[in-house]
Assembly symmetry: C2
Homo-oligomer: 585 residues x 2
């Protein structure tokens, strides 16, 4: 079921045409359903013939087509399979097969992914692993080539990818273009490596995705002029309008941390809807289980009053068209037979889900599980010796910069607070929710540790650690004592990467992520349960955040304002430079 | 100014970004204009900076950009240059440079062309001629690869093109895909050569255009299942709706003969508009001068009540997006600076027209003429000896089939009429408007002559001849006597191809078309004047048709119902086979 547009033999096409004409029996005929036709904007009763994994023909006359199998849909609606316009599969903490198992019951049959996380750990080898690990899945996984590895020069990543490293991958059938050019200051300023990557996409006539948080005015004009054609970072409607006007396709994001639909849905009208799609960007397995995937965004949009057919178009054909997927995103002759059924237009809950003409889920349950047996790259953890002393901050002033966590957002505040000084060191002060944050380099054993303080995580004791730390995926830690920071760091190194919560040197919960320190090969439900245990432990330690690990993962991402931290220190993202921890008195 | 998407050097892109940011001077700044933003559906005042032939930035704040040249648009609207979604340039009777001179003042800056006519005469050499003759023009000429040469096996063409002949041309930068698969019965029936050409497009991830007149029901399902993604042949709204539902992009055609906008415009609504575009298909120079080009369709659509911004989208961005032209069809950063200005939203008349940032027309007048100096293929006429006897029809029954011309349409009626018998021959009977029609093979001197009768051309005497005779472009003739048919045929052979009108052996008017018997290298205005002289002559001979030459040109096209004629005889297009002239008594 590997995607290649119209990947057909002459024989398969000949058979498809015979079925379409009614001259040969279909594999499957769906009768008694109401088609949501996202091409014409209509809903009508019809009969649908499927052959060789594709729609052969749709007839409004019952009894037109004969099939080896016939299913009476009993008046249910039929819509094309949902498409996630931009996702980092790694954020599900699951390998592609398990991600597929998690999202297929939600009606998602295709995703446009950016393997940016594993690329930062394993480089081209990581991208190739994601391609082979997603080959042949019932979920169609498309890949955009990670363009900013590392995201900045202010951190140590596991790899560094130039345009010439990426170019050979453009020939892979499921590679659709160049992924988000997240070094937006570089693009706007005309940095040679960004120019080179933008031109690589243009030469190949493929899409270059964008990432331009809070970028407007002349900076946005320059960013668009570079040939970037999408953006998924808008947090406000006026920001999104400005991007639409400049030619960017708007991916409205509803993920685990960044939830932008409520703020953005007002941009959708009859002129703009077909330049808008849905995306999740980053979504963890517990959220996938609880809320759903693209179906969740769809329901929210419809609840906001968007016409259900228009909303379904945003979740299907609009995304397919933007990425040049000419045989996906609609129930129409020749298109891949990816679809789902549902019974309520105003509360779309996928019932039967089909991919490539085969049933994959029913009523929220997977039918038959795909297991991953693709070998993954070996242990990625290369860390210098860890000790509590390594996390000590020598006092060098009275006040420090602190990262202010904004709940449910990946932007942070750049705070200035009085340091808590003890024995010539600046330490955590849980009374003020001032915790220590650290980033330990873990790709090449440099021993780099970036140190700082954070407000808003809320731990009263203990520490949390994660090797999921956008974008370089070093070890990010937050804690009340240096001892617990060290214990947490040691725990994730032992696991070959993963997440943990510790208190007084004891590991309360842990989730191994042996694939690049980012993904588990376990069934996604186990990952979800492991995640829930970790969240329970974090709550027990005092954190009021819905998901402090997700918050943590973005505190190391120096391309999102305002103050972030890497293994090289604190980054003022607005200035795009490393800044000292202590403020001049 | 040759098109290649984002055909930019790193230096050019670096400069473009600097201009966008306001850090470098633009080549040109347009101020005081109201932008029709087809991406957001809005109209607003703004300032537009252009650099290196592209839009660098658009600012809603006056005085943002500095330019070496500034133009105050004095409140005029600014819209992207118009795009013709499907045109056979040969139908203008002009080589590409002169076609460009004719359409640029009408605001057309890009066309998606199918060199199907010259391909039927000169094969790949003809397609390559059209590519080189359109290289570097201010008009961007894109090419779809003619897929049905010859259109059928029921005629003799000058070439025969297989998928393997065409495939190497897919690498040409301005080649966008496979042109209209006009052998629709072949596609629907799964003919191996059509399957091969459809799969060629799919493999290359490019568009395959459609041509499916009056095709609906299961035939349409099969046609769409083959991966065809557009159609420009609908004559009725219900036909177009059915095609839209099946996934075909609808090109609403307003040409010289086929005028479908009045019948189709009702399909345009907020759901469907972005799957609809405008096209001319075939338009002669006199009509271009009188009515205009895509601007004519635009005005008609707006007069029908279509929102002007939506109508402008259909004339620009919708077409660009369909064909994957990601930097055309909008006034937005990074897009080619092709645009025009106008003063009345409800009566769009292009004033200033710019292509690639350079002024090319103003107030309907060309600014500086592009001349063609590309050598064209040599004389294409190879005709056996012509004599009046060759046009004689031996009586073989009492009644004959006759082609019934439908004014302003390219479909015909299949009539059965009493033959006019004289001396054992069936002859023309001008009293009943029953004229003789003939098609003389002219590519390889076979001596083939197809003979028949036609009603509706209206000549009372004389004859008309043309080497523009879709699609094989043999010599098509209609006349009252065999002597005048022979004289007309001799005249066009002498010219190396062209059009003429004769009476009593005397040539009343003639227009040489030395390029493949299809195009003149003369200035388009001369061609228009020549055409008008020919039309005057045809009127003098009694024809009531607006353009009997255009009607004639389509009477030999055996892919459009109902009865047509080729050098091999009469073709019943509904049955798709050659049928005898005389009916069994």
């Amino acid at each position: 079921m590997t995607y290649k547009p119209f990947n057909q033999t002459p024989d398969a096409l000949t058979t498809l045409l015979a079925v379409a004409r009614g001259d040969a029996e279909a594999d499957l005929v769906l009768s008694g359903g109401k088609l949501v036709n996202v091409l014409s904007g209509e809903i009508y009763e019809c009969e649908i013939a499927i052959s060789g994994g594709r729609f052969a023909g749709i007839s409004r006359q019952a009894g037109t087509y004969q099939g080896r199998e016939t299913i009476d849909l009993g008046g249910e609606y039929v819509a094309p399979g949902l498409i996630d316009g931009h996702v980092h599969i790694e954020s599900s903490l699951c390998v592609p097969a398990e991600f597929a198992n998690a999202v297929l019951p939600h009606g998602t049959t295709s995703v446009v992914s950016d393997p940016h996380e594993i690329a930062n750990v394993h480089g081209i080898r990581g991208i190739r692993y994601m391609l082979s690990a997603s080959e042949g899945l019932p979920l169609r996984v498309f890949v955009m080539l990670s363009s900013c590895v590392p995201a900045t020069d202010m951190e140590t990543s596991g790899a560094r990818l130039s345009a010439s490293d990426l170019a050979p991958l453009l020939d892979e059938p499921r590679v659709l273009g160049v992924a988000e050019l997240m070094n937006y200051p570089g693009v706007i300023g005309g940095a040679p490596d960004m120019i080179e990557k933008a031109l690589m996409a243009h030469e190949a006539r493929v899409r270059a995705d964008g990432h331009a948080p809070l970028v407007g005015g002349l900076g946005l004009q320059a960013y668009a002029a570079a040939g970037v054609t999408s953006d998924h970072e808008s947090v406000g409607a006026e920001e999104a309008w400005e991007k639409l006007r400049a030619g960017l396709h708007i991916l409205i994001r509803e993920g685990s941390t960044a939830k932008n639909l409520d703020a953005l849905i007002s941009i959708v009208n009859e002129h703009t809807a077909h330049r808008c799609s849905f995306a999740t960007d980053d979504k963890q397995p517990d959220d996938l289980a609880r809320e759903g995937h693209i179906d969740h965004a769809l329901r929210k949009a419809i609840a906001h009053g968007v016409d259900p057919v228009l909303a379904l178009s945003m979740a299907t054909i609009n995304t397919a068209r933007h990425y040049g997927l000419n045989d996906l995103g609609a129930v129409a002759p020749g298109y891949h037979a990816d679809f789902f059924t549902f019974s309520d237009l105003h509360e779309v809950r996928p019932n039967r889900v089909y991919a490539g003409g085969k049933p994959v889920a029913e009523n929220g349950r997977l039918l038959g599980r795909t297991r991953s047996n693709v070998p993954h790259p070996p242990n990625s953890m290369r860390v210098a010796t860890i000790s509590a002393d390594g996390f000590a901050v020598r006092a060098a002033g009275q006040s420090v910069r602190a990262i202010g966590v904004v709940p449910e957002q990946i932007v942070t505040e750049h705070l200035q607070v009085a340091a808590e000084l003890r024995d010539g060191k600046a330490v955590a002060d849980t009374a003020r929710d001032l915790l220590k944050i650290a980033v330990v380099e873990r790709h090449s054993g440099t021993g780099n540790i970036g140190l700082g303080f954070v407000q808003g995580v809320g731990l009263r004791e203990g520490a949390l650690a994660s090797t999921v730390a956008h974008d370089s995926h070093n070890i990010v830690l937050v804690g009340a004592t240096d001892e617990d920071l060290a214990a947490a760091a040691r725990s994730v190194v032992e696991m070959g990467g993963g997440l943990c919560a510790v208190r007084g040197g004891e590991v309360l919960a842990r989730l191994p992520l042996p694939v690049a320190g980012l993904m588990s090969t376990a069934p996604w439900e186990e990952v979800r349960d492991g995640m829930e245990a970790l969240l329970g432990a974090a709550r027990a330690l005092g954190s009021p955040l819905l998901n402090p690990y997700m918050a943590l993962a973005f505190l190391a991402l120096p391309v999102i304002p305002a103050l972030k931290i890497t293994d090289r220190g604190l980054v003022d993202v607005t200035q795009f430079k490393i800044v000292p921890l202590f403020l001049e008195d």
